[in-house]
Amino acid sequence: MSVVGKPTPLVDARAKVTGQGVYTDDIKLPGMLVGKILRSPLAHARILSIETSKAESLPGVRAVVTGRESTVRFGVLPVSRDETAMAVDRVLYIGDCVAGVAADDEETALDALRLIDVRYEALDPVLTIDDALKPSSLPIHDKTVGGTNIQKAVDQDFGDVEAAFASSAFVERHEFKFAAVTHAFTEPHCVIAQFDHDGRLTVWSATQVPHYLHRALSEVMGLEMHRIRVIRPMVGGAFGGKSDPFPHEMIASLLSRRTMRPVKILFDREEVFITNHGRHPTRTSMAMGVSKEGLITGLDLKALIDGGAWGSFGVVTTYYNGVLCMGPYRVDNFRYSGKRVYTNKPPSGAMRGHGAVNSRFAMEVLVDMLAENVGLDPLEFRLRNLLPPMTKTINEFRITSNGTKEALETVRGASDWDNLHGRLPYGEGIGVACGFYISGSALPIHWTKTPQSTVHIKIDSDGGITVHSLAAEIGQGSDTMLAQCVAEPLGVALSRVRVFSSDSDTAPIDLGSYSSRVTFMAGNAARRAAEEIRKDLVGAASVLTGYPAEGFVPTDEKLVYAPDPAITVTFMDALAEAIKGKGALIARGCYAAAPPMGGKFKGAAAGLSPSYTFQAYVARVGVDAETGFVTVKKIWAAHDCGRALNPIAVRGQIQGCVHMGLGQTLSEDFRYNRGNILDANLLDYRTLTPKQMPPVDVFIIESNDPEGPYGAKEAGEGPILPVAPAVANAIYDAVGVRPKELPITPDRLLDAIAGVRRGGTKQAARTSTARRPAKVGA
């Protein structure tokens, strides 16, 4: 391998470090107008009237649109199309879009918003999960379960959990609570929409899934898809938060249709927080049993998930909260009951580690408890319970490559686990946790015959290799990955390859950058396209030399005849011959996950993936028992990504996941007061600062997946999973308390420590007497 596996600076890094890169807000078009959105001040209200004439007559205002402009429903999942461009009859959360204005400049647009007179009739908002579970006289959306605000209820049952628990040596059941967290990417959402007089619409948007935006625009604007062109400029971070088609993209398009001019809408930071689509606030009740031999007997899980005002990816989230607990441990009896509710708050959606993070926390804490119950070291306990590679889970996930064992052994050695766990002084602790995640969803959201990824390649006589794809580069390095997967089979330098991945008019369809699918699917498509075009080149080498084509191997900008390496043809000579009489070389490759996999039961497709990734992390913490303040001192992170096509990118994803995971663990909390976000800025919403970020020792485990491109799986999401529980388990090792609510704030931890010292709870009593009396009341 000359390109794949080498630490490779991102192909767009130079554009980024010089500021030359173009994000959506950097684009200026002739005649462009400024769009602004009027948002609801009420969490739940009926719109009685909207008076726009004053705004419309303000000089400089070019158009005002309201919900009546388009009542077409859309949503990222076909099963929950519950959004409209703007509120039609009711507003559903504080910040819901009510009207849009296009004006010559920003000040005029903002003045116009103040001149729009909306009369509301306030309705009782549903703000908590408990309220949402009750029957309602006016549910937030039409399609709910039995007149409540439950959007989706999932029940799955495999094996016999009750019987398994009855025969278990120990069963632990605990309640967990998770705050809302959000992506907090640095680039605010931005869109430009432009209708032209050819009846076509072009939309530039900071999106990670251009194709779903394309589909939604087609439905909302009533235009055939081929009349719409979606362009994704550079995207300044997304993490799941730019994967839905959004109202502001529809509003800009509606305003452009009215004015026939380009309209740009750029969010301010508060609007970014209002738009949210972050991780669902969740209450989780989980029980696990263990045999006296230390094997997990069963898992019983209930999750109540706060979806906010819209469906978004929520149906998937609901399933994922359960089914993504099916690894890395063998669980033969599994029962899951999940409910996602609508509330009058900004919508929750997909965020890095989608649907898996909160349940994983509960599971890894319980695993630690069970290990202690049976008197096993928690790391050893995990090793005993692992699924092997090449197996099937009880819910019929097909597990292929699996590097968990190696990952656990690696962090065990690196962290000096065997000498430190249970042996550090009071206030110092070390904890372990594992993770499990999909590498792309095997079954796409839309049931079409279109492959999930297609890549086109063109090589003309200039020798440049052009790659077209719609896999969205959002900073994770997918353009670099595509270039590598093309350069490798062609034996050329990476610098020959240019990736164009932003334009729906020139690129074949790709389902975009979500569910950790891009390396696996688009990478395979790119490799296949390059292997196709390689046939032309070796054929040409054969013509030029008279030796059989099968003998030629592309390497180092040449085609070398393997049986006699003295016989070579340069890439450029072979290219010239291949093009003769035919024109530029073109090829396509695609990926469509269609192997027979998955069960026949309801929801069998959820969580089904052509491959899975596995993680094992150790965290070391210090806990100040007087203040409740936790200092994470170090993380040892081992992630099985199959094969690291680009170790720089893989390492970056793992480090970024640790940062985001620690934020959720310690400080990130999206709080509300009566439906109003209290933390709608980057000061109050506290991500870890450079001074809080601990060192991270990254270990890349390469299990070489049989179906991944060059063995690769994913690295963008799985690595966030073990972060929070590893820290929680380390806190237990340090001070003997089990955090069960995120974030683990000093006040919560202090209360728990005080509880242990008073010996107030059963668990505390056990901790204080049986386990480590020396640490309690120190």
């Binding site: 890094a13 300044g236 971070g237 301010d268 970056g652 940062h659």
Partner: protein, 180 residues
């Protein structure tokens, strides 16, 4: 919507104030500009001078994406009135690379993976350039302190800190050490 209201307020208060002429020294060139008294430097750089490498992340001094150097000091251009910068030397990301190539700080960001989505990168690079001009041999703690006004959501800051250390070594002509 408190933020929206905040952003409406200046225009209202100022009653669409008349523009005033000013001269700003941007990247070594004198630029004669008509600005409103309440225009912040970020707006003037991006909208009037088309220097879009300085990014707009929050408009309220919380993300650091708009960091530029004023007389060598990293400042947030979203919280600085354009008129306040009169007479000072303003440097933006566009001035950092020269015809002969990337600045060592930029090159180090490329090599370590200190830039992922890239949106925060120009701000970090300006902060780092400002730091290294003043302190050519910063400790890791000094680097963390210097960049603590810049936010990155992709890297966990690790590759950024590595890049600044690498650049510092190169600027001091010490042999490069390959980052982890």
């Amino acid at each position: 919507m408190k933020d929206t209201l905040l952003r409406i307020a200046p225009a209202q208060r100022a009653g669409r104030a008349e523009r005033v002429m000013t001269t700003l020294n941007v990247n070594g060139a004198e630029r004669r500009l008509a600005v409103r008294p309440y225009d912040v430097l970020l707006d003037v750089l991006r909208e009037q001078l088309n220097l879009t490498g300085t990014r707009r992340g929050c408009d309220m001094g919380t993300c650091g994406c708009c960091t530029v150097l004023i007389d060598g000091r990293p400042i947030l251009s979203c919280l600085t009135l354009a008129l306040e910068a009169e007479g000072a030397s303003i440097r933006t990301i566009e001035s950092v690379a020269t015809g002969s190539g990337l600045h060592p700080v930029q090159e180090a960001f490329v090599q370590t993976g200190g830039s992922q989505c890239g949106f925060c990168t120009p701000g970090f690079i300006m902060t780092a350039v400002g730091l290294l001009e003043k302190n050519p041999d910063p400790s890791e703690e000094e680097i963390r302190e210097a960049i603590s006004g810049n936010m990155c959501r992709c890297t966990g800051y690790i590759a950024i800190i590595e890049a600044i250390r690498m650049a510092a070594r190169r600027l001091r002509n010490e042999p490069a050490e390959v980052g982890r």
